[in-house]
Amino acid sequence: MKNLRAVPRTRHGRYVFLVLILLCAPALNAAEYPTKTVQIINPFPPGAVTDIVARILAPKMSAALGQPVVVVNKPGGGGAVGIQVAKEAAPDGYTILVTPPPILLIPLVNKNSRFTTKDFTPLALATSSPNTTVVRKESPWKTLEEFIAEAKKTPGQLTYGSAGPGTTPHFIGELVKMKTGIDLTHVPLGSESAAATALLGGHVNISFLTLGTTRSHIEAGTLRALAVASNRRLKDFPNVPTTVEKGFPELNLKIWVGFFAPAKTPAPIVKRLAAVISESLKDSEVAASIAKSQALIENFGPQEAAKFLAEEERKWSEVARVANIAH
């Protein structure tokens, strides 16, 4: 009898112990975190701005965490593939995501998207790059007003190039249409550089691209910047007016790069990672490298980033609704 009863009891005890361990697991992890390599998933190809920012930060983060930090590229679907991989990763702080606005824009465009921003906790908004409104050198428009006047005379005749449906240049184009009351025809070209190429060749009339893409052309004079999205004029381009000056404060847009963790990541780990990213961004070597890569450091912490992102989401949902972008 004794023996017979003993067996189930031990088994039972084992279960209780297992459950206890499982319950404690997050807490245990947080105390010891990190004990292995931390992966940063970049949902874009190597060489993209997210890749560059993540790779600049990785060594500093690694030094602070005492474990290797590696960047893993999971490109595809305009960012959807990698973002979804990050969403499905275990929320243990060993897989985090680096991404620009598409994390927010893809769910607005694609009703079947299997993630939303709610699946993630922001860790930091690391950097940003201002948006520029550019036309080709040979075009007749010298100022934003001239372009708007022409577009009003010929509704739907002028074209703007974007990096594809649901990308930032597309959303910005639609926002510009909403705020200025002009009608432009959207031509999706596949990538920012393809949009720049088509613009340089005169195949489209105007584009709204990041400074990273257009900078060298503005410097060389092959593209003319009608406006730059910024509060103040840029140090390097004192002659380019800002969207705020032109009376369109809503068009003060930045293309940010943020770090995210899966939503259920324990709070202590989120705090630790956010602190590490924030510290790394303050490093002078990092600052120099990021400045070289044509980006500006923002360094928003989790709360600040969440607030900013909520505002972004509100703005872009409005654009998606008015322009009827979703399908």
Binding site: I52, K74, V81, G164, P188
Partner: protein
């Protein structure tokens, strides 16, 4: 004189011991990467990009460029030896190259591809040096309508790619075009034929499909006859091309170099298209077109030259305009940006030592690759004597790892296997893979450029005939289509 001074400046940068070493390192790694199936230049440059962050900018681009053209050199090796395209640009090489290998002429095929690559690479660099700024601007005149016209011309090449029934080739072309429509519609962002599979949203990858249709299918086919008869002619006929081979290859190499260089400048998969075009041209001008596909050296020399010249050409838009025209050029741009150098219209003026050093290093690299590849031929040819019980599993393993390494995506392995089975079945009923691949490359460009053009012209089709480049291409297409009829009549 200016040019001479610049070239001298370039060599003074390229010939420093450190840069020579990086150039050599890049070439070796590139060759290795090219030989390994699947893992193409894009992957290799991507993985090794982070190593260059601590280097001098010139050394960084010199090493990465070495990897790129090294991979283009090496890519033909597995195409010729085991019918597995090391990268997509060498799909065409396998058509005749692999046949040559089975006839015991692997040495000649590998030799002509190394020499052809060297000659084309060198001519390409000369072109790059003299014409970069001029041609960069010319590339800009290619807008969506021009691309559409180009793809229409490109599809007529199908008639030169098949050996058997034309109907079967047309079926494969249509299937290839259909395969190209899988994934996110680039104009509206809607999903097509993806059925909720995330990987398919981005479309079928060219590399997994090509490796399945050619490599896996080839091994599967060989498995049906294992032990019955030898796959390769055991007697090896020479390790290098003989005089007759050279005589036959000289013009194809020259033509391939020019074609490749100019097609390489255009955004998109330049080297792949260049190799297909060169093959078609060689078959068209040949006195024995019916022999193409049975192991004709011209079918190796031309396309190999074309894809290597295209490598040089593809740098032009990046270096003269700051426009990355392909994934690999975007990587180069990233490598430069991390050092705070932004390629653009002012690049050559602002960073002369970088530009000219880079160009000079391409000469050096090409020479190194030739020296590196010629002795390797002997080793490769001997590798074919590996017993099949080891060779086949190894080939399959490298295909598996190679495809996985592209995007760290298991689904792509499964795609490769599915296309392996399809390719095997297609072979059993006499359908060929080359038209499928060509159509799959051209299809998406054709569809998007057609729809972009119509958006720009507001639905007006005249846009395809009124623009000068379009008009020329359309006339060319008509000529291509009519000319076989004319020759056929004359024969009668």
């Amino acid at each position: 004189m200016d040019l001479l001074a610049n070239v001298a400046l370039g060599f003074s940068v390229a010939l420093t011991p450190a840069n020579l070493m990086f150039c050599f390192l890049g070439s070796v790694v590139g060759t290795l990467v090219g030989v390994l199936p699947g893992l193409g230049p894009v992957g290799a440059v991507a993985f090794l990009l982070s190593l260059t962050f601590k280097m001098e900018p010139a050394s960084a681009v010199i090493m990465l460029a070495g990897i790129y053209y090294g991979a283009m050199y090496g890519g033909s090796t597995t195409s010729i030896l085991v019918n597995i395209p090391g990268e997509t640009a060498s799909v065409v090489t396998s058509l005749d190259g692999y046949r040559m290998a089975r006839q015991g002429r692997a040495g000649a095929a590998l030799g002509i591809s190394a020499f052809g690559s060297f000659i084309a690479g060198t001519l390409g660099v000369i072109g790059l040096m003299c014409l970069a700024p001029l041609l960069g601007r010319a590339a800009l005149s290619f807008g969506p309508p021009e691309y559409f016209a180009l793809t229409v011309t490109g599809l007529t090449l199908v008639s030169y790619l098949s050996r058997g029934s034309m109907t079967k080739a047309l079926i494969m072309t249509t299937l290839g075009l259909l395969a190209g429509t899988v994934g996110m519609d680039p104009i509206s962002g809607e999903e097509r034929f993806a059925y909720g599979i995330l990987t398919l949203r981005d479309g079928l990858g060219l590399v997994p499909v090509a490796m399945g249709l050619f490599g896996i299918a080839e091994v599967l086919e060989n498995l049906t006859t294992v032990g019955q008869h030898a796959i390769y002619e055991t007697k090896i006929k020479g390790l290098l091309p003989n005089l007759k081979d050279w005589k036959n290859s000289l013009w194809p190499i020259a033509r391939g170099s020019c074609l490749g260089f100019f097609l390489g400048i255009l955004p998109g998969p330049g080297p792949v298209i260049a190799s297909f075009v060169s093959y078609a041209v060689e078959k068209r001008v040949s006195r024995y077109p019916e022999k193409f596909g049975t192991g004709v050296i011209e079918g190796v020399a031309g396309p190999e030259a074309a894809n290597n010249a295209a490598t040089a050409g593809s740098f032009i838009p990046l270096l003269s305009l700051g426009i990355p025209t392909s994934a690999i050029m975007a990587l180069f741009m990233g490598a430069l940006m991390i050092h705070g150098i932004q390629p653009g219209p002012l690049f050559i003026v602002k960073y002369p030592e970088l530009f000219w050093g880079f160009i000079a290093s391409m000469y050096v690299g090409n020479a190194m690759l030739l020296v590196l590849n010629l002795p390797l031929i002997g080793i490769w040819v001997r590798l074919l004597k590996t017993p099949y019980i080891i060779l086949f599993p190894l080939i399959l393993l490298f295909c598996l790892i190679g495809v996985y390494s592209l995007n760290a995506n298991v689904t792509e392995i499964i795609i490769m296997l599915i296309f392996g089975v399809l390719g095997f079945l297609f072979r059993q009923v006499g359908f060929e893979g080359a038209p499928f691949i060509l159509a799959m490359v051209l299809g998406p460009i054709m569809e998007t450029s057609l729809r972009q053009s119509l958006l720009i012209s507001r639905g007006n089709f005249s846009i395809f005939f009124t623009r000068p480049i379009c008009a020329v291409l359309m006339v060319l297409t008509a000529a291509f289509l009519v000319s076989p009829l004319v020759t056929a009549k004359r024969k009668r």
